[in-house]
Amino acid sequence: MRSVSTIESERSRGSAAGDMSAAHLDRIEWPLSLSVMAYGVSIGIRTNDLRVTEGLAGHLPPGFTSAEFFDTGRVYSLVVEEDDRSGRHQSLVYVNGALLARCSTLQAGLRAFGADVQLYVAEMAPERVFVHAGVVGYRGRGILLPGRSFAGKSTLVGELVRAGAEYYSDEYAVLDSAGGVHPYPRPLLIRNGRNPGATKHQVHTLSVGAGDGPLPVGLVVMSKFRSGGEWRPKRLSPGRGALALLANTVAARRIPEVALATLHQVVTRAPIVTSERGEASSVVGPILELAAQA
């Protein structure tokens, strides 16, 4: 295991980050290496610290399968190193030899790794279109709650699940070519506070059974939290709804034609409403009512 001070001295000599990283990684031993496949996308993972294995699965996309390590074209290297002087550990996350993140704890490193892996899979999945959205099932149909990080979608999903909806996802709506939404059942995580620096915590009390099959989309709710915001839903036209969904589609630029065709299946079948909202608990009833009418 190499020391932080050594890495920093290499950096200070002005070598290119990528070159330095590649040379650095070549000298490391990897007691664990494996390949993982999810949604038709393969990645390689290796680490120099077996403690990584304890938390690894929780940061991978749901439903992943693993196999022996092979060159997948995208390899993550999770390196845990000790600072010679302070004795503290830091974790470094590399992608194909380039340093992605330098994190102060192993857990933070795993979160950085997991976030990038999940985003990569969402972008590259060959047969699915991933939209940033919370998803619940209700009366046999999916309710999509598009929104990026810090839009409060996990909180809203949590409240809907408490009210009886079925948990599908708090991060991605995974759409097939017919417009059906599939579960992405990673543990429901709710951020401890609204500031961007706040970490997310798993809500054990909501460890309910997740939906186990695709649902037709019955309602799309574009909402944004504002303290004291009033729920006044306005229906969007299918075209404007498509724009709103595309603005949250991970692979919009990579596969625009596929994304548009998939979203077409959604917007021509499900009403799309938009509104600001106050606390999540105050809009659960109206949303479920809308879904029941749709």
């Binding site: 330098r102 985003l119 075209g239 404007r240 692979a251």
Partner: protein
């Protein structure tokens, strides 16, 4: 101007038809446009053969010919602004009598439901979802716009 036959772009774009709208994805600029009913009808008629007057005639509105032509010009004005016409530079003067779009709208008589509208967004890069990750310092990877991301 009377012989101007506008042509909408057909290359480097994807068009998705909806019941009464069009969604147009501009691959060159990663811009996405939603054309409402009137704009969509004008779009489909802009084949480089029909003149503005002919397009206006075939729009199927009950408007006077001059008002219908104004509707077409309002649509063309937006297409040009959003780089959706084949012509790099539309013929000058592009607007009749150098009218502003507002003036053209007033000329049609504020028939709001008939006005062509083009709403646009920029398609997000995949890593737009990236947000600060507590405890981590993102590093420039030279691998596109991916950084230290969170969900």
């Amino acid at each position: 101007m009377e012989t101007y036959s506008p042509k909408t772009r057909s290359t480097r774009i994807f068009v998705q038809e909806l019941p009464s709208e069009l969604v147009v994805y501009d691959v060159e600029r990663n811009e996405v446009h939603c054309l409402n009913g009137t704009a969509a009808r004008v779009w489909t008629l802009c084949d480089g053969e029909r003149t503005v007057a002919e397009i206006a005639q075939q729009l199927g509105t009950d408007l006077e010919p001059q008002a219908a032509e104004t509707l077409v010009w309002i649509a063309l004005d937006q297409f040009a602004e959003k780089h959706l016409l084949e012509e790099a530079s539309p013929p000058a003067p592009y607007r009749p009598a150098d009218m502003t779009r507002r003036q053209m709208v007033l000329r049609v008589g504020l028939i709001v439901g008939l006005l062509p509208m083009v709403d646009s967004i920029i398609a997000p890069p995949a890593a737009l979802a990236a947000s600060p990750m507590p405890g981590c310092t993102p590093q420039p990877t030279g691998m596109g716009d991916r950084g230290c991301t969170t969900t």
